[in-house]
């Protein structure tokens, strides 16, 4: 049987699968909804600074000196201007604690009774921030904002003091008080968000998931319904069946991947820096590296249910370990080793480099080599096992 025959037969099988999918209205709706949900989900569940809007924060001034009152007034003014917090009067730490428990407040600020006297006697004055550790995300954000605001207020006060005592103007005073200032300059134009980070990963994941889940599903479903026998008993290469199914599933995955890309660009303002064709090529390569795994699962699993379970077991760790949502560098070292043994990691990394950094083929050569090797090795193992398993 020639390569031409194998390809021709596989294309007919793919035609059948895609026609079947196209006529399955429900499946078509899901095909489009899945990437949409995925994007909206990851786009909005992760906390950003804008999540903090008009948070109710208790303010207790235990100091009756003029400096404490002035500080409280200043803080109120800054908070209102920024719109991040809305300050509520409070009587002290215990009151704030009670009101956090009741859900009235997100955090609090306490000006201790020795605030004025400390400042007047030339010592540092302490401002207490009350944080709610049961909500680490919000309390961390609030803590950060309050610290920044209070430090800024400290700086203003220092500038006023210095310019008054040394008789210099305020910009000179600023240089004395804060000699260093930091400016960040990114390598990516514009202002990339978490979305830019996560979009390439979701694309890689969607495409590969569709092959990893779709392929075993497509084959074991036909096995269970008996229609696979029709292909197995036809004078075609076993490879044609695998290839046909793969072409169909890859097309499905690519459609979903492109929907993700479209949504990312149109709705979430992600920009593609690199070559679009390279992007497409990477997606297809990623799929091929997963085909072997899909076939392996199909061969080992007796029925559709077992296949689905096996896939879920493999897929979830892969989703979270491959740097799709969280940078791999954040993980403990041994987890990083696991991450770097998964093909999805390389696909995600390469896609991210091309999409955000505008990388060319050369800069992603490692990823390319690893993905190709993965694909070939897994296929070389999977195809003979598949052939044997089908005759059991």
């Amino acid at each position: 049987m020639g390569a031409g025959d194998t390809l021709r037969h596989s294309l007919w099988i793919a035609w059948k699968d895609l026609l079947d999918l196209w006529r399955n209205r429900m499946a078509m709706v899901m095909l489009i909804l899945m990437p949409l949900f995925m994007m909206v989900m990851v786009g909005y569940i992760f906390p950003t600074e804008s999540a903090l809007e008009n948070a109710d924060v208790g303010l207790a001034n235990e100091d009756d000196g003029p400096l404490g009152i002035a500080f409280a007034q200043n803080l109120t003014y800054v908070s209102e201007e920024s719109g991040l917090m809305s300050l509520k009067d409070s009587t002290g730490f215990d009151d704030i604690k009670q009101r956090i428990r009741d859900g009235e407040l997100a955090g609090g600020v306490v000006i201790p009774s020795n605030f004025s006297s400390n400042l007047e006697s030339g010592t540092q004055a302490v401002v207490e921030i009350v944080s709610d550790q049961s909500n680490p995300q919000i309390s961390l954000l609030l803590q950060g904002i309050l610290t920044k605001v209070i430090e800024q207020m400290g700086t203003w006060r220092a500038i006023a003091n210095v310019s008054f005592q040394l008789g210099v103007n305020s910009s000179e005073a600023l240089a004395i008080v804060k000699p260093y200032t930091v400016e960040t300059r990114g390598i990516v134009p514009g202002n990339p968000s978490y979305f830019d980070f996560v979009a390439p990963g979701i694309m890689a994941m969607t495409v590969m998931m569709s092959v990893m889940t779709g392929l075993p599903h497509a084959i074991s479903y036909e096995k269970e319904f008996g229609t696979l026998d029709g292909m197995m008993v036809a004078p075609i290469g076993r490879l044609s069946i695998i290839l046909g199914k793969t072409i169909a599933q890859t097309s499905r995955g690519l459609i979903q991947g492109l929907i993700v890309l479209g949504l990312a660009v149109l709705i979430f303002g992600v920009t593609i820096q690199g070559n679009f064709l390279l992007l497409l090529f990477l997606l297809i390569l990623g799929v091929l590296s997963f085909v072997g795994l899909g076939i392996l699962i199909t061969s080992v699993a007796r029925d559709e249910q077992t296949a689905s379970m096996a896939m879920m077991t493999l897929m979830f760790p892969m989703m979270f370990l491959s740097g799709v949502f969280f940078p791999i560098q954040q993980m403990p070292v041994f987890m990083q080793y696991i991450a770097w043994s998964l093909p999805l990691t390389y696909a995600t990394s390469a896609l991210r480099k091309v999409m955000i950094l505008g990388a060319d083929v050369q800069s992603i050569s490692t990823e390319l080599i690893v993905l190709i090797t993965f694909g070939i090795v897994l296929l070389a193992v999977a195809v003979p096992i598949f052939k044997k398993a089908m005759k059991k």
Partner: protein, 340 residues
């Protein structure tokens, strides 16, 4: 090619279960060969091995002259399969389904179109050719399923329970169609069934398979003869005033082989010899017995199965049918007894 199928010690084991146990059969070219046996006897496993879908554990076989292990590709070119589960895609139309399989068999476009048209016409399905299979009734589906297997004009056609779960009309039509393909195309057909009447009607020869072994193999006629010779007559007789004395007298007649009392008034009598009928009637009449009803029965393959294996098939069969039809029954059981 003289033999369509030759098997030598063909065996399939699933762990400890021997599904097919050293089977040796020779199916002649152009023959309709029936494999008859209860559910789980090994019919499907045997068929799957011959179709190259299953690797044998031991032994070998040749189908259409090719070895099923070494030349499986060649075997596939010459066979067609109608399996118990229909090989069709519900969301494709009949024509699309046939097109797919035609393409897999490398049938040229023109030939494929001509054959599709001809076959659809043959099973009276042209009207529904462009409807999706999912909208068909079971009988319609099976017609398409069968012509799908015939698309490549196979030398050997395997049919695993081709009429299972079909309504009586479709069953009759499909049986006639099977006969017709066999005659017109000289296609050798291997047919599995648990229905005696089907094997009896269609098959040139029947192999009775039980627990993986071929326990009997011959023409339906010869198989029936196993029970007690050509001149055995079976009579179903109703005597409203049946007495024990009458029963005793019948049992004592030398020509009568056996008497089974089915209920208060019904008897099932088997007798041998030319005068068998006369003897039965005379014995009853001599004791003032009234004969309300009499029917002569020919031994069925079911009787043969019972005779050979010592077990009834029907209980096992109806459980299988139930699982397929959700409680429905496969026509009246009396169908399996043919009136002479």
């Amino acid at each position: 090619m003289v033999e369509a199928i030759v098997t030598r010690n063909l065996t399939k084991k699933f762990k400890d279960l021997v599904a097919v146990d050293h089977v040796n059969i020779d199916v002649k070219k152009g023959e309709i060969f029936g494999l008859l046996g209860p559910n789980g006897a090994g019919k499907t496993t045997l068929i799957r091995m011959l179709c190259t879908l299953l690797a044998p554990t031991e032994g070998t076989a040749k189908v259409a002259g090719y070895d099923i292990i070494k030349e499986d590709g060649k075997v596939r070119e010459h066979i067609g399969l109608v399996s118990e589960k229909m090989i069709m895609y519900d969301r494709l139309t009949a024509v699309e389904n046939l097109k797919l399989f035609g393409k897999l068999y490398n049938i040229p476009k023109d030939t494929l179109e001509k054959r599709t048209h001809k076959l659809l016409k043959l099973v009276h399905m042209e009207k529904w050719a462009k409807s999706q299979i999912g909208t068909y009734s079971t009988g319609m589906k099976q017609r398409i399923n069968i012509i799908r297997a015939l698309l490549s004009v196979p030398d050997v056609l395997f049919m695993d329970e081709p009429t299972l779960g079909l309504d009586p009309q479709s069953t009759t039509e499909i049986r006639e169609f099977i006969k017709r393909i066999n005659i017109e195309n000289e296609t050798s057909i291997i047919l599995t069934t648990h229905m005696m009447v089907e094997a009896d009607m269609l098959c040139d020869r029947v192999g009775i398979i039980d627990r993986g072994k071929i326990v009997a193999l011959d023409t339906p006629r010869s198989l029936k003869r196993i029970i007690g010779g050509e001149d055995v007559a079976s009579v179903d007789i109703e005597i409203p005033n049946l007495t024990n004395e009458m029963l005793e007298a019948l049992r004592n007649q030398p020509t009568i082989v056996s008497v089974v009392r089915e209920n208060e008034t019904h008897l099932l009598i088997r007798a041998k010899g030319e005068d068998a009928f006369d003897d039965i009637i005379d014995t009853i009449r001599a004791r003032n017995g009234k004969i309300a009803f009499v029917k002569s029965l020919e031994p069925s393959l079911e009787d043969v199965f019972l005779h050979i294996t010592g077990r009834e098939m029907r209980a096992e069969v109806s459980s299988k049918v139930k699982s397929f039809q959700g409680g429905g029954r496969h026509g009246p059981p009396a169908l399996s007894r043919r009136v002479r």
